[in-house]
Subunit: 267 residues, 2 copies
């Protein structure tokens, strides 16, 4: 099983991703797809008059302030616009895709953070009307049911809280949990950078390989959203995923390039 | 099996619908839910600067002009905002709901109308950049797979064209096709009217019962969107559904009221 996480950036090469999925499925490779949608969510939130806000947790992670209206817009973009775009792209090329959020069948399940301790412009605050959480369990049974019947699950946040509420969960971390649940051979994380960069944003400073045991040390090179990606990678590795690859989603054959040694390989 | 179609009107009693579903599932009744979203789609389309347009077919049916951008907004509302709202409502009350569009796994499949002959302000036109179609087949295997594993499928347009493109399909007709595929005991169509009215919009003129054999004659009383509902009902009956009920979705216990004789019963 190979789990592919594709970000929501506008410069990703969607056709090339779909072509790779068709080729890999055709060659009998087991696949699961998880996608994001942050960039489009920002645009739609602006257009609907509810602009995005970001908060920084006490441990330094940046996340989206997710009040009830933001959660609704988030669902519109991730589960509506983008999930169905991926499903349509795959369906028109003969792959029987089934798009699901992590809320459906509680595929991504975990605790809601009912009090979120954050810093906004350096000031400490506790947010209560916030709908975020962390994926702790994956409903692999439902995914297996679909895979065994020949469908390709196309997954996206939100997830489900223990109480069944929709929660904004990190897509990279969700993909890492899916990869762990399947003891995947590889988790391929495609975004709009070539991989982990020693000197962000200098793309020539790509770190080509990181030994598993030293993944934690490389956290120092992760900037912004890349922090969560590396954290997810470390978790996936610790839970038995054989390798995690950060690779470029803007190029031709992005998945096959990653699987044949491109990007940053954590092995 | 009972198939419930719930419209997208803002005055529908969502809590009461969910409560009925919980009670019926608790009593061991097999259920499938199909929902709409036309009213919210109109609002979001306005807010996003792409206001809704409606066209009238040569046979007199009114439908949404669905260009590519409208299709995207349609998916945002039906598959994102509203489908996940229903799934969350059900999940928080202990029902393991799985929200799917008719595009996913080609649950609602049929031909795309690549040339749509319509009248706009009385003038005849042929629309080509339009993404609408008609549900001709239901992927009952996928629905059975989920039902047998204990999930409640929550379905919504769009559907899939034969080529796998997303197409705007009528939700009532889709629900009728689902009911037919399962030889359902009943198809309950909830909307913001008490049923079929002899003198629309006079709610006291409710037609309480229509014998199956005479359903076609009652088409004369159907106004606007109700036309497609009655057409769907006639199709469902012809394909072996035992009864179709048009009932009020604004009241307490709307499904149980319908099943115990409320609304317009086509029997």
């Amino acid at each position: 099983m190979i789990v592919i996480k594709i970000g929501g950036g506008k410069d990703l090469n969607i056709d090339a991703v779909v072509e790779d999925i068709v080729a890999l499925r055709g060659a009998g490779v087991g696949l699961l797809l998880v996608h994001g949608g942050a960039e489009t969510t920002n645009e739609v939130a602006e257009a609907l008059g509810h602009p995005p806000e970001f908060v920084t947790s006490e441990s330094g992670y940046v996340s989206r302030r997710t009040d009830r209206r933001t959660l609704e817009i988030f669902e519109m973009v991730y589960c509506g616009q983008l999930n169905k775009m991926w499903v349509e792209q795959l369906q028109t090329r003969g792959i029987n895709a089934v798009g699901l959020s992590g809320l459906d069948g509680r595929i991504f399940e975990g605790a809601r953070k009912d009090k979120l301790r954050v810093r906004i412009n350096g000031k400490r605050m506790v947010l209560r009307d916030d709908w975020t959480g962390t994926v702790e369990r994956v409903n692999a049974d439902l995914l297996r049911l679909l895979l065994d019947a020949g469908y390709l699950p196309v997954l996206t946040p939100p997830g489900a809280s223990d109480a069944g509420e929709a929660i904004n969960v990190d897509g990279d971390r969700a993909a890492a949990m899916v990869a762990a649940a399947f003891n995947a051979e590889a988790l391929v994380i495609l975004s709009n950078v070539p991989g982990l960069l020693r000197n962000f944003p200098d793309e020539s400073s790509l770190i080509a390989e990181i030994p598993k045991a030293r993944a934690d040390d490389f956290m120092q090179f992760a900037e912004g959203r890349m922090k969560k990606k590396v954290m997810g990678a470390v978790e996936a590795i610790n839970e038995g995923v054989e390798k995690v690859i950060f690779a470029d989603g803007r190029v031709d054959a992005p998945i096959r390039t990653a699987l044949s040694g491109g990007g940053t390989q954590i092995v």
